[in-house]
């Protein structure tokens, strides 16, 4: 199975965000791989290895990112985890939106013909959650978003995807090629059944750490550099940022003397009960 995984770098969510005029001040940003994308890479690796036979690989995992040159660092970290190859499409974060991203991945999918495109369900910075859905629409492929479990069925021709929806788990069968976006629980010990690894195999919780061997091997793995123009992407940015402002500073709370006073204030001042 050939899997294309999308990976976006995002500012460290633990870091305090600074504003510079009408944009984010990214001069001191610590960049890291979007967590859901890291889960997508882990999912792709679990789908293409036989964990019951010393992690023997059966398939190819290609990770793609769109961004400036230094996104290579995040791509290398996915190669160190075990991905086979990476593609870096040159671009600046400020000039991208979900439309351009979806069109770019569409072009790459038409060129490289993967069996499956795995994506994080959303990026921790924009939280827009729409690139995967657009992409499936443009490719005319089936989609399964918010995947919490994946099982390879029909001899590798389809996936049974457990989707995390408001009402619970919806199980959906998608024939390949397909677009799947992954949710948090996809990295649980029993979330992936790939038809090769023993069904009762328990993976370690969470995405894997790159081993020293993995880090050294990543140095020799290829990263293809390309551009939006070279891929023939003509989409224009549709989202425009009008203003950007920090949330107002929290005001100090007040102390109440009694439960009665609290209830009265919640009712008459906060008007929540």
């Amino acid at each position: 199975m050939k899997i294309l995984v999308t990976a976006k770098r995002v500012p460290d969510p633990e870091q305090k965000v600074k504003l510079k005029g009408n944009e984010l001040d990214q001069s001191a940003t610590n960049w890291q791989l979007n967590q859901f994308d890291e889960y997508a890479v882990e999912t792709a690796l679990r789908l293409t290895e036989n964990a019951s036979a010393g992690n023997a690989r059966d398939g190819e995992v290609v990770v793609v990112s769109i961004g400036p040159k230094d996104v290579q660092q995040q791509l290398r970290s996915t190669l160190a985890m075990g991905a086979d190859k990476a593609i870096l499409v040159a671009g600046e974060d400020a000039e991208l939106d979900a439309e351009i991203v979806a069109r770019t991945i569409q072009k790459l999918a038409e060129r490289d013909k993967p069996d499956l495109i795995l994506m994080g369900k959303l990026a921790a910075d924009s939280e827009s959650n729409d690139a995967g859905q657009r992409l499936a629409g443009y490719l005319g492929w089936p989609q399964a978003t918010f995947a919490g479990t994946i099982e390879v069925v029909d001899g590798g021709k389809a996936l049974l995807v457990g989707r995390e929806v408001d009402a619970g788990i919806e199980t959906k069968k998608v024939t390949l090629p397909a677009v799947v976006t992954v949710d948090l629980r996809i990295v649980a010990p029993h979330a992936i059944k790939n038809g090769k690894t023993a069904k009762d195999h328990a993976y370690a919780e969470g995405p894997r750490y790159a081993s020293l061997k993995g880090i050294m091997a990543a140095k020799k793995k290829p990263i293809e550099d390309t551009t939006l123009q070279a891929l023939g992407v003509t989409a224009q940015k549709r989202i425009k940022t009008t203003t950007l402002e920090a949330p107002p500073a929290r005001k100090a709370g007040i102390k109440v003397q009694s439960v009665e006073e609290l209830v009265q204030k919640l009712h008459s001042e906060a008007k929540v009960i």
Partner: protein, 356 residues
């Protein structure tokens, strides 16, 4: 010359930090340090999987074949997180000694260490006689302060003019963990009561240990550097958030000066440690000088950083609940391992021809 970590070394260090944040949190350290073993088997198994035990082992023996700089990167993060794991003993000390043994010993033992099937300790301080008896050698005597000596599967014992491999279950060997100031690192007393080992258990000449010891000192100094860095980070964070008299305490000059002094100490220690690691990686003849310098500087930097961290945190700093005192204990314990700062300075002076 570019004196900075390469992209891979940087990735390795980040990965080590990330792993240790998850597996060697303050709660983990406190849970593990009170156990008899002194390390968590599951976390150690994960460190083996990450390749840390294979780090120095050459590829021909199933290792990754990296060097002192990469080890220093991992040790720095281990020190920052106060990791309770036999890294210094098995990787920093024993692997470096085994790398000086002949090829047959290397081929027999290094793959076992790399794969995590053996944990090893080096017994340095103390007196053990090695008396040849036919095709055996009889070891008799006592060794003290053996890092992880109580739990290691294999002991590399400096005895007579050689280094001998002794299995932990050897007849006549008794081991006892000592109660020490630093609960995060276990030290053992070993008694050899006519322990018989085959003559082939002799690994190398005792003098070969010096080169290994210099490399182990660099690893320990890197661990101390990591600890000092963490103390500085804890202090600065606290100074920015703790409000007293209506202002963060970091705005007071007395606290600012302490933090600035710590930064100077940490950065100077970093220069000394990385220089020593670089010389170790290039087999430079100046390594003994650099190792002594790194150890004496990093020991004092960590001690001061840990002490000041307690001061900056006020009363909270010396409570059991805060990590500052664990760092102070680790700093005190580490400063006296493998030679204390004054001994290192004396050695340095001697090498430079400044003492008689």
């Amino acid at each position: 010359m570019r004196f900075a970590l390469t992209e891979e070394q940087d990735a390795l260090k980040r990965q080590a930090r990330r792993f240790l944040e998850q597996r060697s949190s303050s709660a983990d350290v406190r849970r593990v340090m009170v156990t008899d073993a002194g390390f968590a088997a599951e976390a150690w198994a994960e460190m083996v999987q990450l390749g840390w035990t294979a780090l120095l082992v050459p590829e021909r023996h199933g290792g990754v074949g990296l060097g002192p700089v990469e080890l220093a990167a991992v040790m720095e993060e281990a020190g920052a997180s106060l990791a309770c794991a036999p890294l210094l003993s098995t990787v920093g000390l024993a692997t470096n000694v085994l790398l000086r043994a002949d090829e047959s010993h290397q081929a027999a033992l290094l793959p076992e260490i790399a794969a995590g099937r053996l944990r090893a300790a080096v017994a340095l301080a103390g007196e053990v006689d090695a008396r040849p008896d036919a095709d055996e050698v009889v070891l008799h005597g006592h060794k003290s302060f053996v890092v992880d000596g109580h739990s290691a599967d294999l002991l590399l014992v400096v005895a007579g003019d050689g280094v001998y491999v002794v299995r932990a279950n050897a007849e006549g060997l008794s081991r006892r963990a000592r109660a020490t100031l630093d609960p995060t690192r276990k030290l053992a007393e070993l008694t050899f009561d006519s322990v018989r080992v085959p003559a082939s258990a002799r690994l190398c000449h005792g003098a070969a240990v010096d080169g290994a010891l210099d490399r182990a000192k660099v690893a320990l100094a890197a661990e101390q550097l990591g600890g000092a860095e963490r103390c500085l980070a804890l202090s600065v964070e606290y100074a920015k958030t703790r409000v007293q008299f209506g202002r963060p305490i970091g705005s007071f000059q007395a606290i600012k000066h302490h933090c600035a002094d710590l930064l100077v100490l940490v950065e100077s220690a970093r220069s000394a440690v990385w220089w020593a690691a670089f010389l170790a990686a290039t087999d430079d003849p100046e390594l003994p000088l650099a190792a002594s310098l790194a150890r004496s500087y990093a020991s004092e930097a960590y001690l001061q950083a840990a002490g000041q961290t307690i001061q900056i945190h006020g009363g909270m700093g010396f409570t059991w609940d805060h990590d500052a005192h664990l760092h102070l204990r680790r700093a005190r314990g580490s400063a006296t391992l493998l030679g204390d700062p004054s001994a290192e300075r004396e050695r340095l002076a001697h090498k430079l021809g400044l003492s008689s």
